[in-house]
Symmetry: C2
Subunit: 278 residues, 2 copies
Amino acid sequence: MMNLALNTATTRHQWDLRAAVEGCKRHGLSAIVPWRDQVLEIGLEKSSKLLRDSGLAVTGYCRGGMFPANSEAGRRLAIEENRRIIDEAFAIGSPLVVLVCGGLAEDSNDLSGARKMVLDGIHSIINYARSANIKLAIEPLHPMQAAERSCINTLAQANDICDALEPSGSSTLGIAVDVYHVWWDPELKKQIDRAGASRLIGFHLCDWLVPTHHLVTDRGMMGDGVINLESIAISMFNAGYKGTPEVEIFSDYWWSQPADEVINIARKRAQRVLERLF
Amino acid sequence: MMNLALNTATTRHQWDLRAAVEGCKRHGLSAIVPWRDQVLEIGLEKSSKLLRDSGLAVTGYCRGGMFPANSEAGRRLAIEENRRIIDEAFAIGSPLVVLVCGGLAEDSNDLSGARKMVLDGIHSIINYARSANIKLAIEPLHPMQAAERSCINTLAQANDICDALEPSGSSTLGIAVDVYHVWWDPELKKQIDRAGASRLIGFHLCDWLVPTHHLVTDRGMMGDGVINLESIAISMFNAGYKGTPEVEIFSDYWWSQPADEVINIARKRAQRVLERLF
């Protein structure tokens, strides 16, 4: 068995949660990171039982966040939604919720305002998460997603949020490092080191294709693009990351391929990157 | 007449250099920033005469850069090419060359190596530029261009290069701030302040559309997107920028519209952003 998780977004157009669980087992992956819509599709209770019975580790749950909104009521709704997501993570046995923090509020161009709303939003759920023993993995998203998906676009920002909300050191907050979002960052290594073992709670693999044809759904399979995955993996290892790396590929191309083939290739490619480290 | 330049990329599919010059005059723009291919299309000598006779200020020349290459010979070629571009900028009366520094070298995934090649490349042409009294405007490009067009993706990197190569303060090196490339940067204001009046030698306007359909050719007209242009203009003004702002819109949509209409709209939209400042 390989210390590797399938993020179910990778096969979302081929497999439902049940099929993804079977796929992970068939291909010898140790873990799974389900998306919420796929969990709710078959129901929280059935999903929980399915995952528990599978023998797979559930190493994450996607996704919370989306805090900015242009009204007090909208921001409150987002916080309530995030609490439900924390409950669901607890129910399926995930140690963490991945936070895609949200972009600009609707009809707004106030980026620093949105960033403040994200800080406030995380602040509003941190105690709830702590009491459920669920970690919150802040995932910086590529700057090209700043408007629509997340105004947290660098590891430095994620580290700053952790510093601000858990000044005495992290226990509930952490960071998910997705190579696709951060590979370009001149401070990548420095900010991975700054995060350190306690905050590094997610490591997502895919690749950046040249050329890239779509801002969301044209990610590459590891090895097909230009990200120096080995170098990032070494940085993660050296900083003390000890988790289960995860394959997460949003790709119209790979969604059109047989899922077993996708996983087969992903497993081999991930192995090349990770084998001497994790 | 308005203190505004047309970057000729904005109308490249409608107008050649001659038509762009006439367009600028017709619409009361004070300046023009030609692209090299459009200059060479009618010849350097004719372009120089055309621009000199036009009464327009030439406030930039696009573009130099593209330093990384996977061989010593390739890097030397790039440097020679940049020297020719500096000569051309001198010939057409431009005070500066815009540097799009280049992405990864071919078949390479060594991003920090590419960044080193950019530093070395600029180092290799700075004296040549200085002796021609041509400034080099380092333009950080959006991180989504890190692989293909520029591995210089933040104002902090551009400032670092200036610090490294002109430690006693800038005179030949400067920075072009294109709102499209930097609007997302949490350090935007800080790094504009750090650059200061002497380094701020370019200010490019367009907008970020939501959604964005193409990584290169889907820029928006000012006001049609989510960039807080006023706020960036105020930062530039407060930092002492005193140049001629420039409209540069790569857009399949705007390239399909009558150029006079494009300029008419661009002028009005730019006026709203700039009128109280520049």
